[in-house]
């Protein structure tokens, strides 16, 4: 733990006009599972390719185990990689695909056989060794790609959206397999995904990226509980965090209040902070997700246990407990204050409904959210 396993310092790689990453710094301990998360085009694949050595940074250094690998080619960096397309060699059998790297590196035959056997058993590919990739299902191909990474026996494994070509059901089971494999082999994994659910459930650390820069770097719990910006708040969580304009809750319109749907409570009209209209009610079995509409809020939702009597068009009163409110700067989108640390700045309850006043409308120019609802 004394020294970071992987360390990036101010790494920059940009192309003329668009894309790429700029000023990326992060460090990762051995055995950790890091997800690089972000919308498409945010530079997450570029970052992975920089770590892999498939791209060269224009600026900054990359260290692995204290060694500067910035100028080393991919083959010398002691890592394996699982590609989004799996990059299996179509003319080679499963066994030949898995053993390709070992043969290239002249590993002895008995050693190769042993490691092939292990990798095949570990990934559940037994009996498929002589098949060609074209004779396998998507999930099996994916596991061949995993086995190829496992057999290399390298401490760092990079994965570029390895689940994006699988159907939803398979995705969940392979996700668990990857996590189990990583723990069992003590691998350090860097995992690129655009699916926040994948990143949250798999990782020890998450890097959230936006437009080539790190928006937030932390544990999944940190990202969920304390998003660094409105972007992070809206990207993470399903449904995402609701963002409510400050003056709708009785504070300044320079602030935007964020609240997770599970922290929003129903309240009788005379005690409510907000009254919102039900847009849609999604019955999910154990609970019901109400999508709500309020002129000063974006992504407002409520999770209620079981089935609910609410139908679209109904009006509900909402209460947002002060300790669950996050404050963002409306202009910059950055988080302002964390409620626990600043008890003195607790937000006053919005008494607007009780006073008979209507909530402010979204036509005010200072309001930065791109909400167009009336």
């Amino acid at each position: 733990m004394s020294q970071a396993f992987l360390n990036l310092e101010n790494v920059t790689r940009q192309w003329e006009g668009q894309g790429g990453v700029a000023g990326i710094s992060l460090s990762l301990n051995e055995g950790a599972f890091l997800s690089i998360l972000g919308p498409s085009g945010c530079g997450k694949s570029t970052l992975l390719r920089l770590i892999a050595g498939l791209e060269q940074p224009q600026d900054g250094r990359i260290h692995m185990r204290g060694r500067d690998v910035t100028d080393l080619p991919a083959s010398k960096r002691d890592l394996s990689m699982v590609f989004q397309s799996y990059a299996l060699f179509p003319h080679l059998s499963v066994a030949e695909n898995i053993l390709f790297g070992l043969k290239v590196r002249r590993v002895s035959r008995p050693d190769r056989e042993r490691r092939l056997h292990e990798a095949v058993a570990l990934t559940g590919l037994s009996g498929l060794e002589t098949r060609k990739p074209s004779e396998l299902s998507g999930g099996q191909r994916q596991r061949v790609a995993l086995a190829r990474a496992v057999v290399a026996d390298r401490p760092l494994c990079l994965m570029d959206e390895p689940l994006s070509n699988l159907d939803a059901k398979l995705r969940n089971s392979v996700r668990r397999d990857i996590r189990a494999l990583q723990r069992r082999l003590g691998l350090t994994v860097v995992y690129v995904t655009h699916d926040q659910g994948e990143a949250m459930s798999l990782s020890d650390r998450v890097v959230l990226m936006r437009k080539g820069r790190i928006e937030q770097f932390g544990t999944p719990a940190e990202l969920y509980a304390r998003p660094a910006s409105t972007f992070a708040a809206e990207f993470i969580g399903e449904p995402p965090m609701a963002l409510i304009r400050g003056d709708a809750l009785g504070t300044s319109s320079d602030l935007t209040v964020g609240a997770r749907p599970e922290h929003i409570e129903l309240a009788p009209a005379n005690k409510a902070d907000l009254t919102a209209r039900v847009l849609d009610a999604e019955f999910l079995g154990s609970e019901t997700l109400l999508s709500l509409e309020h002129p000063g809020a974006k992504g407002l939702a409520l999770i209620l246990p079981g089935d609910t009597p609410y139908a679209p068009g109904d009006t509900v009163g909402l209460c947002i407990p002060a300790q669950h409110r996050l404050l963002f700067d409306t202009q910059s989108g950055k988080i302002e204050k964390e409620p626990q640390q600043n008890p003195a700045t607790r937000i006053r309850q919005n008494t607007a409904p009780r006073d008979g006043q209507t909530a402010p409308t979204a036509t005010e120019p200072t309001f930065d959210l791109q909400r167009t609802d009336p």
């Binding site: 892999a52 050595g53 498939l54 080619p73 991919a74 083959s75 890592l79 394996s80 990689m81 590609f83 989004q84 397309s85 990059a87 060699f89 179509p90 003319h91 390709f100 790297g101 290239v104 590196r105 060609k132 074209s134 190829r148 290399a152």
Partner: protein
């Protein structure tokens, strides 16, 4: 029951034949009939005004096998094929690998490589005639700069066939390169990256991944090159006319000579039949043996 169906079945039969007829007519007129007619002609003697042609069976073939020129031409053609096929394929592959890499002026390079293919063979022949001309041809001019003596490339039996081969390779390599280039572009780039991460050198990647994936293309090009090694003789008319002393004469040219210069149609027909048999056997070998060892995606 069957009685009721008769008009319907007839209509369907007519419909079927109508669909078949374009291909049937074309193939019969231009492939089937000429082949049979050639075989038939080869079994008859050459007719003159005094001795009308008569059925001689395989005599024509026997005479052909006794003809030293025929064997000279066959060996010429084998050398021609043995040089032009591998040389043009290797050069095509090399050019394709090069033209597929990231480099400036890549499209210019590709166009330049492809230009000889666009040129008619007759034009190419005339161009090379200028290169090969003794004393003031470009090759000898360049040679003279280094003090080499003037060589009559096309005019001496030792070099004529090689000079002919050179033109064919120059003409064909660019054409084959296009196929290789197209095949190379279908190989996803992440295969190279995956191999790179595994520590494979560029050479290992080419040998273990690229070449096997190019096998279907290679087979296709091989078939084409073999056909061309028999078929492509236009430049002979311009450059050597098969000479000097038959040193650059190829089978098809000899067939043409027999048929249209010596008017010995049965000899030409017999040779054509032999060529057809040889090519048929080659095609069978390629598709039965090589095909099985080729990976198709």
């Amino acid at each position: 029951m069957s009685h009721a169906n008769t008009p319907d079945r007839q209509r369907r039969a007519i419909h079927g034949w109508l669909l078949l007829s374009p291909a049937l007519i074309m193939l019969s007129a231009f492939a089937l009939y000429p082949s049979v007619a050639t075989l038939w002609t080869s079994l008859w003697s050459r007719g003159t005004r005094r001795r009308p042609s008569e059925f001689v069976g395989l005599d024509g073939y026997r005479q052909l096998l006794d003809d030293p020129t025929f064997w000279k031409v066959v060996s010429n053609n084998l050398i021609y094929a043995g040089i032009t096929i591998p040389a043009s394929m290797v050069i095509a592959l090399t050019m394709a690998l090069w033209a597929n890499s990231k480099m400036p002026a890549r499209s210019f390079l590709r166009t330049a490589y492809f230009t000889p293919t666009v040129l008619p063979m007759i034009a190419a022949g005339n161009l090379w005639l200028f290169f090969y001309t003794p004393s003031f041809g470009i090759l000898n001019k360049i040679g003279a700069l280094f003090g080499a003596e003037a060589v009559n490339w096309l005019g001496q039996p030792d070099t004529a066939l090689w000079a002919i081969c050179m033109v064919t390779i120059w003409k064909e390599a660019g054409f084959f390169m296009i196929f290789y280039l197209a095949a190379l572009q279908t190989i996803p780039p992440d295969l190279r990256e995956a191999a790179e991460i595994e520590g494979a050198s560029r050479w290992t990647y080419t040998r273990r991944i690229v070449l096997p994936l190019l096998m279907p293309t290679t087979l296709f090009i091989l078939v084409n090159a073999m056909i061309n090694s028999v078929k492509l003789i236009d430049h002979l008319f311009i450059l050597t006319k098969g000479g000097p002393s038959d040193s650059s004469k190829l089978i098809l040219y000899y067939i043409w000579e027999n048929a249209f210069a010596y008017f010995d149609r049965p000899a030409a027909a017999a040779m054509t039949v032999l060529v057809l048999i040889a090519l048929g056997a080659l095609a069978a070998f390629q598709f039965l043996v090589l095909d099985r060892r080729t990976h198709y995606r």
